[in-house]
Amino acid sequence: MDVILSVWRQVGPDAEGEFVRYEANDIPDHASFLEMLDIVNENLNTNNEEPIAFDHDCREGICGMCGMMINGQAHGPQLGTATCQLHMRKFKDGDTIRIEPWRAEGFPVVRDLTVDRSAFDRIIEAGGYITVSTGSAPDANLIPVPKLAAEAAMDAAACIGCGACVAACPNSAAQLFTSAKVSHLNLLPQGQAERFSRVADMVDEMEKWFGACSNHGECETACPKSISIDFIALMNRDYIRSKFQQGRLAGQR
């Protein structure tokens, strides 16, 4: 198939960017979207034009490296799918496809379609862990975890950290990411000791970088793992509780 691309090109973080038009011809329709970009890049290289920079790695939808706005949708038109698992058969011959990087103050553009998502790492560093030094863990079966709690925690933990939630949010809010990380640990018995300090610290860190939630729900549809905004409610509740409870007697910071 033949498609026409309109790709955001920007040489560096401070440079001005612009859309550049490319023709992508003879693309096999079982090629993935990124393989289509590979072909375009190969042609650009042949024509002495620098290839389009885009982040990608595992190409099986789990590492969370890839991600771009495709025709105004994070990760493109197929729901519950990361860009690398989007295939060209979802497009029609002759389509024009506009590709932009994620845009948010917390995700500065590095080059072309590549953005810097290290703000997500800062959020995890603020408290997205259970403090357990290597070797100090008790036998794994000592603490029974209700199957449903483990399942719910897993639903949240499926987050791949791609940033589509922020990209799709009209407020550039990272509530879905943060709530998924908070809920993963806060739903488990192992996470209870740090439950409230975790949520307070992670939310405070999140707010340094990203906007506020208006409950649009756009993040949920953009998420390649279809993580539910139910977790945002859970995070909000825990955050509110962290502020109102008697910390010392609740055994919490």
């Binding site: 800062r122 208006s214 409950n215 409610a233 509740r237 955050y239």
Partner: protein, 245 residues
């Protein structure tokens, strides 16, 4: 791309030294919580206000007595109008918080989007018009309230205004076609605002339970329908001559 980690957790602790409620309100989640709680108050007011107003359909005496009863709240126990004023102050406070939180969040969100926004029209799948235009419907409602007060409470916007003569004032103002239209448009904006707000507040205060989640939206739709239809029925009734002097 090295980064040396300054211990941000210390700064978080330092922030905690402020009075907790200020500290809480200074966070976005706290502001959303405040918006939700003030929103609940405002919703309660809207419902009560509408219930009272619907008394116009029971005749002039009925609604005028209702207005009088409001001023008389508390009976002989308190100075006349004091309870009403307390309610007004509470309402004003809730409204101020609601507006302040909304404005500061709106400003923050604008900044969070960054200097270069999307150049391609975003395809929205989940966000509704109601949710996306909360700020605009909110501003519309705010401007309408100013008009509404000067129309039916203070009087300058209504040439036939007579203090205490509620029924007559209502009919007089809604007999003017532009006012009726303005009123209906404002109520529709309010409806859109309520539609998203009444659902959204559950998320903001963290009430989420698979057992009743589907009712959150139904409640929002029900409230919206009640508020919109109830409020619109009055100017329409005046225009169609059902309510007249």
């Amino acid at each position: 791309m090295a980064h040396t980690e300054v211990d941000k957790r210390d700064s978080v602790k330092a922030r905690r030294k402020r009075p907790f409620i200020i500290e809480f309100y200074s966070s976005d989640v706290g502001k959303k919580w405040a918006m939700a709680l003030s929103g609940i108050l405002l919703l309660g007011y809207l419902v009560a206000h509408l219930l009272g107003n619907l008394k116009v359909f029971l005749g002039p005496e009925n609604v005028d007595l209702y207005a009088e009863a409001l001023r008389d709240l508390g009976g002989e126990l308190v100075p006349r109008q004091s309870i009403l004023w307390l309610m007004r102050i509470g309402l004003l406070l809730a409204y101020s918080i609601h507006v302040h939180a909304a404005l500061s969040l709106w400003w923050r969100n604008r900044k969070a989007r960054g200097s270069v926004g999307y150049q391609t029209r975003t395809t929205y799948l989940a966000a509704t018009y109601a949710s996306r235009f909360m700020a605009y419907t909110g501003i519309t409602v705010f401007l309408f309230i100013l008009f509404h007060l000067s129309d039916l409470t203070w009087g300058p916007a209504n040439p036939d205004f007579v203090y205490g003569d509620v029924y007559a004032n209502i009919v007089a103002t809604f007999e003017r076609v532009p006012v009726a239209i303005l009123y209906i448009v404002a109520i529709l904006a309010l409806g859109a605002h309520v539609r998203h707000g009444a659902w959204s507040l559950f998320q903001s205060i963290g009430i989420n339970n698979a057992k009743f989640n589907k009712w959150r939206n139904k409640l929002a739709y029900g409230l919206t329908a009640f508020i919109v239809l109830g409020n619109i029925s009055i100017p329409l009734a005046v225009q169609f001559g059902i309510l007249k002097l």
